[in-house]
């Protein structure tokens, strides 16, 4: 499935630098419709307001962490279909397993490359197309 370049992304990270990097990488991949949130709580507010089709989130954030955000998304009927890609420095195996079990669509460990992001996005788009 060819991804819609107008697809609306929400990038969630407490560090503005990382949000900017992810936003730039998405732009290079052709996705210019990107909004940002600095923690899970703000992200959830924005998501509930509607209009988003893809969530890219960090794990370790104040107020609401990425795993809780993911779990909340999966347990909210209006949001549970959203693909959620985690980009995080958490590299313990139990983190990855916990994220997968909570319903993460993909898991990228920092530091990461533009190639990795592109590959994971495409994989998620493929699955979405099949689903």
């Amino acid at each position: 499935m060819a991804a819609d370049p107008k697809m609306r992304f929400l990038v969630v990270d407490d560090f503005s630098t990382m949000r900017r990097i992810v936003r730039n990488l998405l732009k290079e991949l052709g996705f210019t419709n990107v909004d940002e949130a600095e923690d899970g709580a703000i992200a959830l507010q924005k998501l509930q307001a509607g209009g988003f089709e893809f969530v890219v989130t960090d794990w370790n954030m104040p107020n609401m962490d990425g795993l809780t955000l993911l779990q909340t998304i999966r347990s909210t009927p209006s949001l549970k279909h959203l693909p959620v890609l985690m980009i995080t420095a958490e590299a313990k195996k139990e983190n990855i397993i916990a994220a997968a079990q909570a319903g993460a669509s993909g898991y990228i460990v920092k530091p990461f490359t533009a190639g990795t992001l592109s590959e994971k996005l495409n994989k998620i788009f493929e699955k979405m197309g099949q689903g």
Partner: protein, 286 residues
Amino acid sequence: MTATNDSSDLEALFDSIAADVGRTAPPPAAPAAPVPPPAPASAGADNDDLQALFDSVASEYTVEPAPAASATPPPGEGAGGAWPQQEAVFNRIGHMARELHDTLRQLGYDKLLEQTMSALPDAKDRLAYVANLTEQAACRVLNATDIASPLVADIETSAKALGTRWDKVFANQLGVDEFKTLAADTRAYLNQQVPEKAQATHAQLTEIMMAQDFQDLTGQVIKKIVALAQTLEQSMMGLLIEVVPEQRRTEEVNNLMNGPVISAEGRNDVVVNQAQVDDLLDSLGF
């Protein structure tokens, strides 16, 4: 007084209570003692806490069978026998406090801990400085790429456009006038556009390079903090080992927010690259 207290403070406390017990205990046995509360003159405890403690001890004491009036035991024996457990606890606490104090002094840890503790606020400031500098550097680099990216994109698109027109020349699809325009455009591109944009891009590359100057500064600051952390760890560990030798070191706190893995050497509970993440997820069927 049979109690062998090691701590002089505890001993004094014990003595004062024991003496009171000894003084006021006899009344139940003595027929001529009608006043239940201790007479102000006879109550040696001038402290409320001591009084309360005394009252509870004294009431326990009076529950026991009253000794025969003719065979009143020495006050010390009576009190000591009434609460051997409490006495043991007092003893042990006294021992521990003195051991801790002595160990700290003998090893010089009291001074060392004092120094490291006073250094911690300083370390906090230093780390804030590091965070500040690295953030500034990241912003400078991102700004530079924001400026340079369109310049490079322009060079690329102009070159492609000219290339397409030159392809037409080689395919004999271009008239003489069009060819002249193309030649002029190409000349302008080579003489002006490319050098200008390349220079502007180069300036941004220099900016990116200069933004790395934080590394030197943060490196120095971080080295100092590492040294401080080592001192602190050593003194803390030494203290623990000296004072509580049987205390086992607690295992790593088990939680899911540990941040970046600083060193994966010798660990098999972490992944070190994206390929391992993917393998793990694949192996689990995700």
